[in-house]
Amino acid sequence: MSHATPFLAAQNVSQIVANPQATQAHDLHILRDVNFTIEAGQSVAIVGASGSGKTTLLGMLAGLDSPSHGQLFLAHEDLTLMDEESRAELRKHQVAFIFQNFQLLPSLTALENIMLPLEVKGTDNANALAGQYLNHVGLGQRGHHYPHQLSGGEQQRVAIARAFAAQAPILFADEPTGNLDTQTGHHIIELLFELNQQHHTTLVLVTHDVQLAQRCQRRLSLTAGQLTELVDV
């Protein structure tokens, strides 16, 4: 690649939120001076204790939030120089996201939830495509059920199918297998890496699953907002 800017990177990124009840001294440092670079097509796992800032970091990389300090690059673009309008445009074409808390719209059926990214892009055969993705995650029969009629694991699978349907070159996944049993978890992991290999999708996932972390090319560890790269021994 002839780009001078990195494909996906954080440079000196900090996130500080004011503690609503106290003075400056008590400000909460969610991320402290985070630095890393990810190449296109890589698979990266972010691991860390609960509350260490993984979700916050992932959201920032995807351009969902802006950092207090530092620079972020997504698909060679400097996110911190962009306005919300152009970040939205970038997300539309580059990013798919699997949320920790699924974020399925309660008023939409499973199938319609999956159709949503296709519809936003204006894809013609959204319905048929969404059906295929639903089959992929093994929920072909549940397309017309509403989120509240599905179990946590099933909702997670719908959320994953929705992310696949976006057909984006970069996929962010926040604990994608957190609610799944071992067997379904395996199946989903296979799907994720299939995507990575066949379509050269860049994978950035947050996980507690050791097996999943092992399958990634790189592992980053977050501890109290500070990032270190784990190197295999």
């Binding site: 969902l64 939205a88 997300r91 539309k92 974020q103 949503l116 936003v120």
Partner: protein
Amino acid sequence: MFKLAARLAWRDWRGGELSLLFAALLLAITSVTSISLFTHHVKQAMVSQGADLIAADLRLNSSQALPEDWAVQARNLSIQQAHVSQFQAMVFADNGMQLASVKAVSNHYPLRGELSVGGAAFDQGIVIAHGPKQGDIWPDSRLLASLNASVNDSINVGDLSLTISRVLITEPDQASGFASFAPRAMMHLSDIAATHAVQTGSRITHRWLLAGDKSALTSLQQQITPLLSSGQRWQSPTDGNANMAATLDKAEQFLLLAGSLAVVLAGVALSLSARRYSLRQAKHVALLKCLGLKPKQLRLLYLSQMVLLALFVLIISLPLAWGLYQGLTLLMVDYIQTSSSTPALAPFILGAGTGVLCLLAFVLPPMLALAKVAPAEVLRQSSNQKKANIGHLAIGFGAVILLVYWHSQSLLISSALILGVVVILLLLALLTHQLIKLGNTIRPHLGQGAKIGWANLVRRKHQNSLQVAIFGLALMLLFSLVSVRSFLIDDWRQQLTQDTPNLFLFNIYQEQRQSLLGSMKQQGLTTEGLTFFPIARARLAKPKVDNPRGDRELNLTWSKALPAGNSISQGRWWHNSSTAPLEVSIEADYAKSMGLGLGQTLTFNVAGIEKNAILSNLRKVDWSSMQPNFFFVFSQPLVEANSASYMASVYIAPKDRSKLGPLLREQPTISMLDVDQVLQQVQRVVTQLSLAVEGILIMVLGAGILVLVASIQASIDERRHESAILRTLGASKALIRSILLVEYASLGFVAGLIAGLGAEAVVAVLQNQLFQMPVQLHWPLWVLTPFIGMILIGACGWWFNRSVITTPPLRTLKQT
């Protein structure tokens, strides 16, 4: 983009997300449109009632004959016309003679209202379409009695002999003033010449009666008005009759008020549901943003959703309003009739306009603000605990005021409502804080449910303030309307009392008073409540007024005390009338139209003697009281006691009417003015209007209750979730029920309290300024309203939350 908007809107609709917004908008448009349609209908009925009183839609009164070509102009505009000429003439019969007021009418008289006749004096009348034909005469009961004549006799008017074919019982346009004491007779217009009773220079009044299309009448009036001479004057239906006009005016104000309240309620309902919708949409927006929708696209998306919603609601609500209105008029068809039933376009425009404006003011701002939701919101369990946006509230408030003004065209109603809202907000700010303090001190002594309930109240301070403001506003509007309705109906009911005088007696001399009472007793007539008023006839000599109302013989009276039902609007009533110089009190509007001012010295010509009197005060007269009312009241007698003439008023029951003939024969010098027919007309109108007012009240109450329900529902989501969590923690049904009851009942109590006080302020302003009535405080109202609020809102809150108690908690948790 529009396709996506439609698709998302459809899914929201299917999921019930839009249903509250839909219902609120439907309520807004339907209630405003149907109330406005009904108001329009009642107004038309009022105008047609007024039209009956002048027997036409429009009348030209003239002291000289009218040019021929005016009739041609009217004919060209397809306007119906009739002519009436009225003059005084001696009427001769075999057994007597009598000065009578003769009314000569053309073929088409009356154009509006009903004429009724009988076969003998004081008969029950039968309605008849036209006046007497040529050669016939219809004397009224009094004339017949004083002439000692009966049907089929011949009587002479001037030189012409006419046959009595019927007895005149009622005329639609009988003058209701005291101008015509003389007995009356009706004959055909073309017989006038032959009587030779009307010579050049004799007093004759001409009336040109017109009826037809409103625009045609207006254009005729515009053509002719510049040509009118000083003795010619237009008369429209409402300025014919002072007491009727006063009643109609109050009714119209009430209808406008009620309509305005419907507008405010609609606004409140919409703003509530819009708030709820936008809170629930925040997640959608954040997610759509993650999927790459730009803020601009999101704004367009919601804008098109709103347009779709508005169109959909309009398509449903306008016919619905029409149906409602039809149903209501059908229910009242026996009571409220109009001559034309052409649907008016204005109410539909008003209703649709109100809906669209409410949508723009209440729904659009929060929707557009949605585009600002940060995409990172999806990463968290976003809180629904957003404070109300002051800017959005201000826009909404401004829009409501604008709408109320549009609807009522009355600065007064608009400002009374603003005052009410301000009172509510002030009380709210004052009370919330105090109550929470109070709660904190009593909390340790409460039961478990009440304790948690109180804690919840305090925790949700801001939301609760908004909630109380809305409950309070809705309750205030309802309380105000109910109490305005009560005092209005009370006021009208006084006119409906059975013993309102329906007969006026004139030309009674000092010494004749006892003998009159004796004769009445002898005939078995009641003399209860009969009071004598002294009367003198006089002319205002100085200053010369340029108004035909002042330039004629006036009926004057004198009194030490302020007559009942009168109130002083300027100046002071006299204390010691016997020693001071002569003072006079004049009815305020009359004085104004004559250009007379306080402190002026006026010269009256009383039977050839000039008397000076100082105008010391102006009076307001309740014209709807049907008591004898006088434009002029003096502080001292104007004539010697033994030459004074008196008038009296008395109620004669229908069964006693046949005794009036014999009474008149016994007291032949006394004149009578029978206002029974006018009174019945007024009572009929009052009955109709009372019904209309009740009908409107029910509609607005319905709208108000719906608003309460909507606002409770809007508050429910969060409480459901909490209750479900409490259930999983093992709270009993009874505990949850008591928590909810404490929360909603306290909210209701506070809302009721401030609503009562707010309503008092609104009603005081309206009573004093709009309805021109003395202000009364309604203390039972404030004592009651907190409890009404408590019960109403407590019950609603409990009812809508009962599913939380009965459904398994997991299901509730999954759905929220």
